[in-house]
């Protein structure tokens, strides 16, 4: 066991059991999977992407490139989970990934032997011979070898939440800088949200042994946390990563239950926070970075800052004999911490020839061996066993089982780049610092390149004061008199030229220094090309560790400076985010809202089968008795209407109330035909175009009173038409007196159709005399009363093409109306019918719907050319363009099979008899088809060149997709009652 006997922020009273690759281990509450593995002496935890090299744990945070595991099992298996951020819970299970048959013996490691041929982008240059082998052989092989973990392939059993929050100040990161910012703003009374991705507040204070105003750093954290949590205006969110900066909105992911075996009942697993923050302070700290030398990827090599975290925060020693390799002061602090905790520090190798006397003295006091001006060129062992130190022209091999490296820190400035801001180079700290952050964001502490603890605290407080001042909120900066002064000096050093073995830049994607050399030789010199050619920085850690050394090596080869070389772009998310969290509750049946008509309950009582019609659920048909298939029901329903009477729920139509002096003039401008002449008590069919001359929608509009009209739109276009009319009324013609109100929800609407329709209505309407054919002819409309005083609107219309009425009543009366009609029609065998039957009858009648009004058709195409009036209307001018009036455009016609036994299918194309079925000979296509019980054969509507001029002609309707080739006759699209006798009867 490498668990140190004392210290650490773990709860030794709470032991926890877990398994890794099936083997049982134990750790403590407060551990991460990584710290627990280290405490159990597990070094080898993963295999790399390309060469399947053995890998260990490199970091102690979300930047981990190597220690990725499959966490949990079954449907909850999560590939590519970072052991360094997975909190230990009792019963945790994890498996290593991307290895076969086992982690210790991975057959794919033979890839390393071929490494000379597997350099950067090798796949673009090979696998082309023979041609067919790419897809048959090479690609499947590559795909199997690539990828990391395995998805569960089962539906995710957990659920997710999304929350909106609003605040004056969002503080990202709860290290000293963030805590100072939050406390300053919180005390000022501002609305503050403080997020940290860790499960503890404190940031580096949880690791480093420092003092603030005379007390321990951890005490400062505890006191600050207590005060923050007590403030009502401040919200603290731990386990919450701010991952993206969008316009006016920060996105953060809270891992609500990932530290539990499974979420408590009704607890979401994770929560997506969308935060509208007026100002933000980014205090995300800085990340230690690796140095590129031979074998720097071996298990046992880790970042110095991480080593210190394992030792100090988790009381887990990553090594028994440790060397430290660095170019900066901070790593010396890490070495001291390890030594002070009882870990043997065999050597402290610094690339610098000089360090501050203070550091030197501290090392001396501890009796540490220090090598100045030295480098490690290679590390050895499957798990680290030895290192080669180069100093003073000599190479020395030193046996160690742990190496802590530090190439200096890189500020965590990713979020400052999400609005295309570019970082700027700071030579003093050999790092990029934030350039232009997104509007409203300022940066404090190590994220801003300020590495001294006192500076971090002061800067955090000052940024909060500044941000609140912008908002007119006065705040007093938290004051700190003294804070531990740790050395912060650094001298740029990236790559050990003497390395003899593979030196890794991007650990996860196996990008080596040699790959960068190759990329440069082949002309991929821009950092963005370098990235894409070598995959540097494209792994799950997004180059948090590798980008800096990679571009520094490129800069060195090309002889350019680092700022001239530049960085690649940081994009959201800061760390990968579960897709489920971004979806929240909108999945399964709740993917989109379901709309129910006011007659839904009645239709269900009647045994309806429902179908999704856009957002609506509508009755499709009403099976009866022994009917086995849907078409049996539909044929019965059609016959019932044609021979007697049927009723259907048409409540889904859009209904728009128009009121005002100028409604007539307004409608004249939005419809192609005239409405201003429509008499009160009449309704008219209208066609609406878009301004580009194509049909937008059709429907009827009735005039109920001189200044009150009601329009119906198609179900599909209800919202679109309302928006369009609002545009016309508010923007185009504000001078017209028109008020628009959507009354779609208020009215239930039922259509009754069939020869007996009037007889039925007569028994339900309060004054039957008013619906006499004379008093109420076809295309009449009135406001009236039904069922003994219920307000109603009755329209004499029929989409089905029969004698018909549509009756609208207030929605709550809808089901009562349906029942009343059913009762009144019982003696005529009144039959409820559904969408499917309506579809049959409208085709029989040649009425067009979405299949025909698909946005590609003109009024002429539909045979409505004559409807267009002389004066202006929307779409008039553009509809006159040659392409739209071309006589060669396919026009609407009807079709029937020459052999009545043939079936027609929508989507078939028309070809002249004797002509080949090719694009050149394509005459048009079938839009809608049905088997017509009324005619005893199939019917179709479609667009064909020449349109109704071809009536009587025979064409092939070819349907190669389904092997169809049917001889059809072109007909009048109105099959049923072409003279309209039924309608008017």
């Amino acid at each position: 066991m490498s668990r140190l006997a004392q210290g650490g922020l773990i709860d030794r009273a709470k032991p926890l059991q877990f398994t890794f690759d099936g083997k049982r281990y134990s750790g403590f509450a407060g551990d991460t999977l990584a710290s627990a593995l280290i405490a159990n002496d597990v070094r080898l935890v993963a295999r790399s992407f390309k060469y399947h090299r053995p890998r260990g744990i490199v970091t102690a945070g979300s930047e981990e490139p190597n220690a990725l595991v499959e966490l949990r099992d079954g449907a909850r298996r999560e590939p590519n989970s970072r052991a360094t951020t997975a909190e230990l819970y009792d019963g945790l299970t994890a498996e290593s990934q991307n290895r076969w048959p086992s982690l210790a013996f991975d057959a794919m490691a033979v890839n390393q032997l071929f490494a000379p041929f597997f350099g950067a982008a090798f796949y673009y240059k090979t696998f082309m011979w023979p041609k067919a082998a790419w897809e048959k052989l090479y690609e499947p092989m590559i795909r199997r070898a690539a990828g990391l973990g395995r998805a569960s392939e089962l539906p995710d059993p957990d659920h997710y939440d999304k929350v909106q929050a609003h605040c004056d100040l969002l503080v990202i990161g709860a290290g000293p800088a963030g805590l100072a910012a939050a406390l300053t703003a919180g005390r000022a009374g501002a609305r503050v949200i403080l997020v940290d991705e860790d499960f503890r507040l404190g940031g580096r204070l949880n690791t480093e042994n420092v003092e603030i105003d005379g007390s321990a750093g951890l005490d400062f954290v505890a006191a600050t946390e207590a005060e923050l949590r007590a403030l009502p205006n401040l919200r603290v969110l731990t386990r919450t990563t701010a991952f993206g900066v969008y316009d006016d909105t920060y996105a953060a992911l809270e891992r609500v239950a990932d530290h539990l075996a499974e979420p408590a009942p009704y607890q979401p697993r994770q929560r997506l926070w969308r935060i509208n923050a007026r100002r933000a302070v980014l205090a995300a700290g800085a990340l230690d970075r690796p140095i590129v030398f031979g074998g720097n990827d071996r298990p046992g090599v880790m970042l110095a800052a991480a080593m210190e975290t394992y030792v100090s925060r988790f009381a887990a020693a990553p090594a028994s004999r440790l060397a430290v390799f660095a170019n900066n002061d901070a790593a010396w602090g890490s070495a001291f911490a390890a030594h002070d905790a009882g870990v043997t520090v065999s050597a402290l190798i610094d690339t610098r020839a000089d360090v501050s006397p203070v550091l030197a003295a501290k090392a001396k006091a501890r009796g540490l061996r220090v090598v100045l001006g030295g480098r490690i060129c290679d590390a050895h062992g499957k798990a680290l066993t030895a290192i080669d130190i180069v100093a003073g022209g000599r190479t020395e091999r030193l046996a160690v089982d742990g190496l802590a490296m530090s190439g200096g820190f890189s500020p965590n400035l990713q979020l400052t780049c999400h609005h295309n801001g570019k970082p700027v180079w700071n030579d003093d700290i050999a790092a990029f610092v934030p350039g232009t952050p997104p509007p409203g964001m300022s940066v404090a502490g190590a994220a801003n390149g300020s590495y001294d603890l006192g500076d971090c605290l002061r800067e955090g407080a000052a940024r909060a004061v500044g941000a609140l001042a912008d908002l007119g909120i006065a705040a007093t900066a938290l004051t700190v008199a003294t804070a531990t002064l740790n050395g912060t000096a650094v001298s740029a050093f990236w790559h050990v030229a003497e390395a003899r073995t593979k030196a890794f830049v991007d650990f996860q994607n196996d990008v080596c220094a040699s790959d960068i050399v190759l990329a440069e030789k082949e002309g991929f010199r821009s950092v963005e090309h370098l990235k894409r050619y070598t995959t540097l920085g494209m792994a799950t850690d997004q180059g948090k560790l590798s980008n800096m050394p990679g571009l520094a090596i490129m800069a060195a080869i090309t002889g350019k400076s680092i700022p001239e070389t530049g960085t690649t772009v940081f994009r959201p998310p800061y760390t990968p985010v579960a897709i489920g969290a971004l979806a929240g509750h909108h999945r399964g049946k709740d993917f989109r809202p379901t709309r129910l008509t006011p007659l839904h309950g009645w239709a269900r009582e009647q045994g309806a089968v429902f179908i999704e019609a856009g957002p609506w659920l509508r009755a499709q048909y009403f099976p009866r008795g022994a009917e086995k298939t849907w078409d049996q029901a539909v044929n019965r329903e059609v016959r019932a209407v044609r021979e007697g009477v049927g009723l259907i729920d048409v409540s889904t139509f859009g209904k728009i109330d128009l009121r005002g002096r100028d409604v007539g003039a307004f409608l004249d401008r939005v419809y192609i035909n005239t409405f201003s002449t429509l008499a009160v008590g009449k309704t008219r069919y209208g066609l609406m175009l878009r301004e580009d001359g194509f049909v937008m929608d059709d429907g009827t509009t009735a005039r109920l009173a001189p200044d009150r009209w009601v329009m119906t739109t198609t179900t599909a276009n209800a919202a679109k038409v309302f928006q369009h009319l609002e545009f016309c009324a508010q923007v185009l013609w504000p001078e017209l007196d028109v008020q628009l109100t959507s009354v779609s929800e208020q009215w239930a609407q039922v259509a009754i159709a069939g020869p007996r329709a009037r007889d039925v209505l007569a028994r339900v309407i309060d004054d039957p005399a008013t619906i006499d054919n004379g008093a109420f002819p076809y295309m009449s409309a009135m406001e009236t009363r039904v069922m003994g005083g219920v307000r109603a609107r009755v329209f004499r219309l029929s989409f089905a093409g029969d004698l018909g009425f549509e009756i609208a009543v207030p929605a709550r009366q809808g089901e009562a109306l349906a029942r009343a009609l059913m009762q009144a029609g019982a003696e005529f065998d009144i039959t409820p019918y559904g969408l499917e039957t309506l579809g049959v009858m409208r085709i029989e009648k040649g009425h067009v719907t979405t299949n025909e009004l698909n946005g590609q058709t003109t009024a002429l195409d539909l045979g409505f050319g004559k409807m267009a009036k002389k004066g202006d209307f929307i779409g008039k001018v553009m509809a006159g363009r040659p392409g739209l009036v071309d006589p060669d455009r396919p026009r609407l016609a009807g079709f029937k099979p020459v052999d009545p036994n043939d079936r027609l299918r929508a989507g078939a194309h028309f070809i002249a008899v004797g002509a080949a079925a090719t694009t050149e000979n394509d005459l048009g296509w079938m839009t809608s088809t049905t088997w017509s019980p009324t005619f005893g054969h199939a019917l179709g509507l479609g667009f064909v060149k020449g349109g109704t001029a071809r009536i009587g002609e025979r064409l092939r309707a070819v349907d190669p997709l389904r092997g169809g080739d049917v001889l059809v006759e072109v007909c009048n699209p109105v099959f049923f009652d072409p003279e309209g006798v039924r309608l008017r009867g």
Binding site: D247, Q723, E726, F727, Q730, E735, D872, V877, G880
Partner: protein, 91 residues
């Protein structure tokens, strides 16, 4: 992206529907001499600038006003939001 609707206040852009360049407000005179050319330009041709852009948004999930928003297409920064109706006839 927040759009500060003059009636509703700051609202997320997902409550709005975008239409395009605010020149769509100025429908040409259909009886004008070059009506077809004018409509062609009105319906189809756009400046599509990289910079400030006057554009139409409909607050369909709010107050149902059509708004003219001046927004920089390089940064998404919004300089102004006003009702799209011409002021002389607006409410």
């Amino acid at each position: 992206m927040l759009i500060t609707c003059p009636y509703c206040g700051a609202r997320d852009a997902h409550e709005f529907t975008y239409l395009g360049d605010a020149e769509l407000i100025d429908r040409p005179d259909p009886a004008g001499p070059e009506a077809e050319a004018a409509f062609h330009a009105h319906v189809y041709l756009r400046d599509n600038p990289a910079g400030p852009h006057r554009e139409l948004w409909y607050h369909g999930s709010g107050c149902r006003q059509w708004l003219t928003v001046t927004r920089d297409t390089r940064t998404h920064a919004i300089a102004s939001v006003v009702a799209a109706a011409r002021p002389e006839v607006a409410r």
